[in-house]
Each structure stands twice: as structure tokens, then as C-alpha cells.
């Protein structure tokens, strides 16, 4: 088994509000990411997936818990001390325009991380920038132009070039294709796939779009109200989902094939509750079609269902022997922990 390159352990990110309450954005998330692996975080707005990504990036200081990159803690170190590790971990955002300074040329924006990290001479950096531009499919003259001169798809290529500048091992992709039209989305997904193969990149891929997630992922974690409710290899998650929320998500996603139209069917009622006041016990219980009393009083933990699949649901193991608690979110290691 490959050693994980990123280990997140019991990570919590709370935001205080002005009126003294607490937004439970991320509430005890553990996961591991192996080199070259794509792990997707999927869930609806407010589930905490973006906050989780930004906290791992240390754009937000964690409330508690640990984040280790190559075995070294970055969750509690100062920003300065983590700078060398920062090279390993980069991020691509949904709207690259919002993350690019409109007055700075594209070449300079891509070069900036190299300058900050004191890498290369001016001439070497320029050469690297021009190589990066070519690698992401932009013309060399793009370096002298400014972000507003580019389309959405091209800006996303700029964002990817910038993320690649330091040769990272991990890229956190936060809804990287959500703002793009379908035809351009395919171009960017293909580019991300090529780069992953070429540089053995690991992606933490944050998305609300199940069809994209099914396409890109090795493993998928489903989040609901700040917690992972299920994590599994892609084919298990899409083929044999265990959590009622995962099932509801899959059932709700429209399929672009009219011959598979399912007609109106029982739907999940209501919407995700406020992270200001999450329900006790299982956070999904207020919308869950199979809830029982225990779900109100007792928080379900992620337990192994075998084949690398973990689920946090009291009802998932009915009829099975009592599962063995295991560290949540461990990468697939075969069936050593299989329960059935």
C-alpha cells in the first residue's frame, strides 16, 4: 500500500457569528489521500466541502484536528514554517478570475509562486512560465496579456498553470469546472486528467456535480452538514451506495438520457438544515426516510462495510455482524476489514 501523502485527522472548522453562535462548517472530518489518487468530496451547498478544502490549504486556520502532508503537521504550524510544505499543496478555484489580480499580467501571476519561494533566476522563471503556458494549452503570448482578455475556460487554464508552477504533489480542485459551459468543461477535465498522469498528481476534487465526480474519481467522500457520511471507491459508491443520503443524491441527479427517465419518484423532502444549529445524533435524520429513535440520540461513526467502503449510518449494518470501528477514511487496502 502506498503511504498517504495527505492525512486529515478529526479536522474541525467552526466560525463564530456576530451574535455569539457557531457555524459548524466542518465537524470532525478524517481522510487520507494517496499519491496519484483522486478523492472527490461531494455534497450540496452548506455541507462544508469547500470549507474543508480551504482549511486543508490553511486559508482558514483549523479549529482543531490535524493536517499532515508527507507526515509533517501543517495544521498547527505557523504560515511561515509551513512554507516549504506549501509547495506540495496547491489549489485551483471555481472562478479563477476572482483569484487573479486583474492588473497583473498572466505571466507574472504564474511566476509569482516561484518568486515567493525564491526559485530560479529571472530568466529561468520566464522559461518555466512559458513552458507551463504551453503545457496547459495557452499560446506563449498569453504571458504579456491580462486576465480579462481570456474566456472562462482559458482563465481556468491560467489557474491550473499557476497551481502547477511549484511542481506540487497535491492539488485541491474546488469546483474547477462548475462555472464552465459543457463543451469547455470537457477540455478542462481532459487537461486535469492528462496532468495527473504526467505528474502523478493527487487531486482532492470538490464538486457538487455527480456526473463529473463519477468520471474523475478513484474514491468519493459524501459530505452532509460538516461530516463525511460515506466514503468509498467510485464503483462502490455509485454501484452500491449504503447511506440513505448518498442514495438520495444519486437518485436526484438528472440523467441525460430520455430512455432512462424515471418519472416522478419519492424524493428527499426538505433542504439541508442550518450549520448554526445542526440536528443532534445523525445530522441527516431530519430528512432521512429510514430514521429510527437511535439516530436522534447517538451519532453514527464511519464504519467499514468492506471493499474500502465506510458508512456512518445506524441502519446500514442491520442484519450484519457488528462492524469493527476503523480509522475513518483510510485508503483502500483490500478486504482485510471486510465484514460481509
Amino acid at each position: 500500500m502506498k503511504a498517504p501523502i495527505l492525512v486529515v485527522d478529526d479536522l474541525v472548522k467552526h466560525f463564530p457569528t456576530d451574535d455569539g453562535r457557531t457555524v459548524h462548517a466542518v465537524d470532525g472530518v478524517s481522510l487520507e489521500l494517496a499519491a496519484g489518487e483522486t478523492l472527490s468530496l461531494v455534497g450540496e451547498s452548506g455541507c462544508g466541502k469547500s470549507t474543508l478544502g480551504k482549511t486543508i490549504m490553511r486559508l482558514y486556520p483549523p479549529t482543531s484536528g490535524s493536517i499532515r502532508v508527507n507526515g509533517q503537521e501543517i495544521g498547527t504550524t505557523s504560515r511561515r514554517a509551513m512554507r516549504p510544505l506549501r509547495r506540495e499543496l496547491q489549489m485551483v478555484f471555481q472562478d479563477p478570475f476572482a483569484s487573479l489580480n486583474p492588473r497583473v499580467s498572466v505571466g507574472r501571476a504564474i511566476e509569482e509562486p516561484l518568486i515567493v519561494h525564491g526559485i530560479g533566476t529571472r530568466a529561468e522563471r520566464r522559461e518555466r512560465v512559458s513552458w507551463l503556458l504551453g503545457r496547459v494549452g495557452l499560446p506563449a503570448d498569453a504571458a504579456a496579456r491580462h486576465p480579462h482578455e481570456f474566456s472562462g475556460g482559458q482563465r481556468q487554464r491560467i489557474g491550473i498553470a499557476r497551481a502547477l508552477a511549484l511542481n506540487p504533489k497535491i492539488i485541491i480542485c474546488d469546483e474547477p469546472v462548475s462555472a464552465l459551459d459543457v463543451s469547455v468543461r470537457a477540455q478542462v477535465l481532459n487537461l486535469l486528467g492528462d496532468l495527473k498522469d504526467e505528474f502523478n498528481l493527487a487531486y482532492l476534487f470538490i464538486s457538487h456535480d455527480l456526473s463529473v465526480v463519477e468520471y474523475v474519481s478513484d474514491r468519493v467522500a459524501v459530505m452532509y452538514l460538516g461530516r463525511i457520511v460515506e466514503i468509498a471507491p467510485r464503483e462502490r459508491l455509485f454501484g452500491a451506495p449504503l447511506h440513505p443520503y448518498t442514495k438520495a443524491l444519486l437518485d436526484a441527479a438528472p440523467i441525460p438520457d430520455p430512455t432512462r427517465r424515471r418519472g416522478r419518484r419519492p424524493r428527499l423532502d426538505g433542504e439541508i438544515p442550518s450549520p448554526l444549529d445542526p440536528p443532534s445524533g445523525c445530522r441527516f435524520r431530519t430528512r432521512c426516510p429510514i430514521r429510527i429513535e437511535r439516530c436522534t440520540t447517538e451519532t453514527p461513526h464511519l464504519l467499514s462495510a468492506g471493499s474500502g467502503q465506510f458508512v456512518a449510518c445506524h441502519r446500514a449494518f442491520e442484519g450484519a455482524s457488528v462492524p469493527v470501528p476503523v480509522p475513518a477514511g483510510a485508503p483502500v487496502t483490500g478486504d482485510a476489514l471486510a465484514m460481509r
Partner: protein, 339 residues
């Protein structure tokens, strides 16, 4: 039988400093009673401008309908006076938008907003307004309507707000609802609820729906018929099954195959999956349209002819129209590939 809505050769232009932008450039489309017709295309294709043109909601200046007719129950809406148009909006045609928060009045309660529509159009006596508002809120499955009636838009979730918008649209029992990306801002589980609701309203009241969307999944799940737009023109129209089974325009084919589902079985980045089929390049900007087919610069099938004059829309099969000089060749090829 005459269509409920019959758009004929509509041209809507925007007169800007960069020149004349032909946002809608000769679009024809008809919608029958009780029919759900999806208009699909990417940003800037003119689908929303078409919808706004129907209701005469194009800001003038800079925009103006410069040609064509919009026949609704036989009357040309482009010639109506503002007062006549107000009567059509609401009782004839209602519209719902992507972001309900921007079209709801933040200082009026839900009950006041839905009630106002009823009073404005005089459909029920004032004494009955409150009872009718409750009925309507119930019909769009708003939970706890008696309490919601006193709440303000900001107190509601995104899905609830969209239900309120639909309630306001339904208040006057319109014959046509134009829904402009009604679920794009919503989460997938809430999207499913709202799409179900629109279909239920069609079944129950026989309303027609013009559904504007960029999402082929939403199209496949809800529409009876589909029009595909590209750069201000309709490039293909067909019954939903035919469009997905046998798309004839290279752009439609590209759209369907560019989706992960359209690419066939996914295999994960890690297992060297089939690459998604890309449509190379991007949509040309409206101020720099090529002289021929607007899709030609991105099209693998393009001939010299395609670059000279835009192809006319022709009926290749019963109910299946396409604007492509190569449609016959493309159809023969796909049939061969299947055989």
C-alpha cells in the same frame, strides 16, 4: 391545430459601442398547449434573450426586437401596447427566473406578494384573496403555508423561494410558463423537487412550459421537445428521444458527447479513462460572428460552403429540424457506425 406560442423569425439585436450584437438572429419556435419545450444551449446562445423577447422585457436601449413575430394565441405580442402586454403577462404567460431572490420583493411577505398578483389581475374577489393564497402555496407544496404566508423572502431557503416564485406564476393560471434556468442555483435534491413540481403543474392544469436550461440532464428528464441554440440561432429541434438518440447537428452531438455520461462508461482518472470528447475552441463573440455557420470554426465536418453562408433550417425527419449542410452525411455515418 394552431400552436399556443408561435415565434416566427425573431430577431433581437443590441446596439452597443462595439457594434450591433445579433443576440437572437432569426429564431422560430412553436409550443403547443400543455407541452414542455426545452431550449438548450451554452452561455450567450440567445436562449434567455429569446424568452425575454417573448415577454417584451428586453431593455431598450440598448436592445430591440427588430424583426419577426411572437404569436401567442394568434396575437402578435410584438405589436401590443404596454397595457395590453401587462394583461398578457401573468394571465397568459408567466415567467420564473434562476435566482428568485432578485425577483421577489424583499420587504413584502410571501402572502403579500402572492396576494398582490391576484389583486393586480383581479382573478379573485378581495375577500377570497387570503384563502386563495393559502391554496396556491399548498399546491406548490410549501410546508406549513399558514406560517410561510407571514415570512419574508430572506427567511426562506433557496428551494422555498423558488416555490414562492412558482406560486406567483401559477396565481393567475397562465397558459404558458417560461422557466429560465429555474433550478440552476439549487442543489440537486431540491432541483429534483422543483422539476417534479413543474411537471405536476403541467399535468394538473395543462400549462405549457418553456424550459430554458444549459443542463442536458434536466432536458432529458422533463422535456417533450428540445430546441438547441447556438450563437443566436436554432441549430436543431426534435422530440426529446430523437434528439438524444440521433442528434444530427455536430454541435448537438458534441454537447451530448462532452458530458461524462455521453462519453460512455467512466473509468476514473486513475485508470486512464476514455477522454471526454471536446468541442475545440469556444463560441465566437457576438460582435465577431463568422459569415457562414457560426459553428464552422469548431466543426470537424465544415466545408468551404459552411464558411460562406449560414445553413438554412431544414426538416430532415418528421418533427426533426436541423441547420447543417452536412446533416445528411452525418446521419449516414452515424447509421453506419450503429450498424
Amino acid at each position: 391545430m394552431s400552436a399556443l406560442l408561435d415565434i416566427r423569425d425573431l430577431h433581437t439585436h443590441f446596439f452597443t459601442a462595439r457594434g450591433v450584437l445579433k443576440a437572437v438572429n432569426g429564431v422560430s419556435l412553436s409550443i403547443g398547449r400543455g407541452e414542455i419545450v426545452a431550449v438548450v444551449g451554452e452561455s450567450g446562445c440567445g436562449k434567455s434573450v429569446t424568452a425575454f423577447s417573448i415577454l417584451r422585457l428586453i431593455p431598450d436601449p440598448p436592445g430591440r426586437i427588430v424583426g419577426g413575430e411572437v404569436l401567442f394565441e394568434g396575437r402578435d405580442l410584438t405589436t401590443l401596447s404596454p397595457a395590453e402586454m401587462r394583461a398578457v403577462r401573468g394571465r397568459g404567460i408567466a415567467m420564473i427566473f434562476q435566482e428568485p431572490m432578485t425577483s421577489l420583493n424583499p420587504v413584502l411577505t410571501v402572502g403579500e406578494q402572492v396576494g398582490e398578483v391576484l389583486i393586480e389581475h383581479g382573478t379573485v374577489p378581495r375577500s377570497r384573496v387570503k384563502a386563495r393564497v393559502l391554496e396556491i402555496l399548498e399546491s406548490v407544496r410549501i410546508s406549513d403555508p399558514a406560517r410561510r404566508i407571514g415570512q419574508y423572502p430572506h427567511e426562506l431557503s433557496g428551494g422555498m423561494r423558488q416555490r414562492v416564485m412558482i406560486a406567483m406564476a401559477l396565481a393567475c393560471e397562465p397558459k404558458l410558463i417560461i422557466a429560465d434556468e429555474p433550478t440552476t442555483a439549487l442543489d440537486v435534491t431540491v432541483q429534483a423537487q422543483i422539476l417534479d413540481l413543474l411537471m405536476e403543474m403541467r399535468d394538473r392544469y395543462g400549462m405549457a412550459v418553456m424550459l430554458i436550461t444549459h443542463d442536458l440532464g434536466v432536458v432529458a428528464e422533463t422535456a417533450d421537445r428540445v430546441a438547441v441554440m447556438y450563437a443566436g440561432r436554432k441549430v436543431e429541434e426534435a422530440a426529446v428521444e430523437a434528439l438524444f438518440r440521433q442528434p444530427l447537428h455536430p454541435y448537438t452531438q458534441g454537447l451530448i458527447r462532452a458530458t461524462p455520461e455521453g462519453a460512455g462508461s467512466a473509468a476514473g482518472f486513475g485508470r486512464r479513462p476514455a477522454r471526454l470528447q471536446e468541442i475545440p475552441g469556444m463560441v465566437p463573440p457576438l460582435h465577431a460572428m463568422p459569415p457562414g455557420c457560426a459553428f464552422a470554426p469548431r466543426c470537424a465536418f465544415a466545408l468551404d460552403l459552411c464558411r460562406q453562408a449560414p445553413p438554412p433550417l431544414v426538416m430532415r425527419h418528421e418533427g426533426h429540424q436541423v441547420a447543417c449542410y452536412r446533416a445528411a452525411d452525418i446521419e449516414a455515418r452515424t447509421l453506419e457506425a450503429v450498424a
